[in-house]
Symmetry: C2
Subunit: 223 residues, 2 copies
């Protein structure tokens, strides 16, 4: 019981900090996307491709969450945008306080989109609000079609679902219909984009989604 | 600081229960394997194939950890062995107390191997001893070759490393040499078995490893 209470306190403290972040992001008309997935579903590759495709029309930055190494931040920097690496050590997710801690390194007045790439984990990140406008959940075809039923909390948190590595489908037993049926049971309202980030297949709807979200954010701030 | 202390207390309580489990498993000469991986790396498929291949020569049971559903236990039962499902809800790993809670459902006197399939997660399960003889870590080729450097705690905990879904390698940019170099930096002593459980490639060394572990366990208990 004591542990449950502590957990509740941690979450309520996180929510408080996240609410503060959300106010800052609103003031700055900055679209913030919290990107979640299992390890190796293709988050960093998707952000690299996005930075290269949209970097000339949108001002982009990224915060990269990993237990160790700054490899992901390095990859994103090579794609031409500013990236800050947070190492969580043994920590299984980013929290709002970690985001607040690195914000001073970003020029928020001169940004349109901030991607937060969470630690690769389909469980813990779902419980922690980072003040984002939307959570984007990536699932790779190689992970199997049973993930929505088995990891519902991540799907419930998600505002957009990306089914990635679709180029691998012919070599796996992934059934798109089973996947869609399971998604519909957990979160019927969600939009699913099907793509292969590595092979640059199906990226256009993703770019359009980001651009419309940026436009919405700017509009809501100027009202 | 208070949270860190609570976390230490949780882990020390877990270690105490795990030590008790380890004594029970030793008395019963029962080999216990804690199987870890990201979501969708192929743990359940490997256990299905193992149950079918070794079920006639070894007495096998499985404990399946998932947030929700009893799909994995159902799959294992269809392969002909007893399987108990633990649903963790929002919990990101199994702990020793959960294992202790379901042990009465197993006839420990008539078992040679107990597989514990942990929740799909490359972070949290690494911190919780379940009283196992060995931790087996699965990584799928589709997850990329950078996992050892980015998730070192799981690799440090592992006693055996399984590189799965090798049949997908031609369709990915996975580099076996980079993977091996990263593994060698984190845990140079570890044995790596390369396989495709789905395609039943490279399973024989895995079966032999289990059989030799069972023999060792029986021998150490009769000394």
């Amino acid at each position: 019981m004591k542990e449950i209470q502590i957990q509740k306190n941690v979450l309520s403290k996180n929510d408080e900090i996240a609410a503060g972040l959300r106010r800052v992001f609103a003031e700055k008309s900055l679209l913030v996307l919290n990107v979640l997935s299992s390890p190796g579903s293709g988050k960093t590759t998707l952000l690299e491709k996005t930075a290269r495709a949209l970097g000339s029309s949108l001002r982009i930055a990224a915060i990269e969450g990993d237990l160790r190494t700054d490899r992901d931040a390095e990859r994103i920097r090579k794609a031409g945008v500013k990236a800050i690496q947070i190492n969580t050590g043994r920590g299984c997710h980013l929290d709002a306080n970690m985001i607040a801690g690195v914000l001073p390194q970003l020029d928020l007045d001169n940004l349109d989109v901030l991607f937060i790439e969470n630690v690769g984990n389909l469980v813990c990140p779902a419980a922690f609000d980072l003040g984002e406008d939307a959570a984007v959940l990536l699932v790779s075809v190689a992970e199997g079609d049973d993930k929505p039923a088995k990891y519902p909390t991540a799907f419930l948190k998600a505002d957009l679902l990306v089914l990635n590595k679709i180029d691998l489908q012919p070599y796996t037993n992934f059934c798109t219909q089973r996947f869609r049926e399971d998604v519909a049971k957990v979160k019927p309202s969600i939009t699913t984009l099907v793509m292969s980030a590595t092979k640059e297949m199906g990226l256009e709807p993703w770019f359009q989604w980001i651009q419309s979200k940026v436009a919405q954010k700017k509009q809501s701030s100027t009202r």
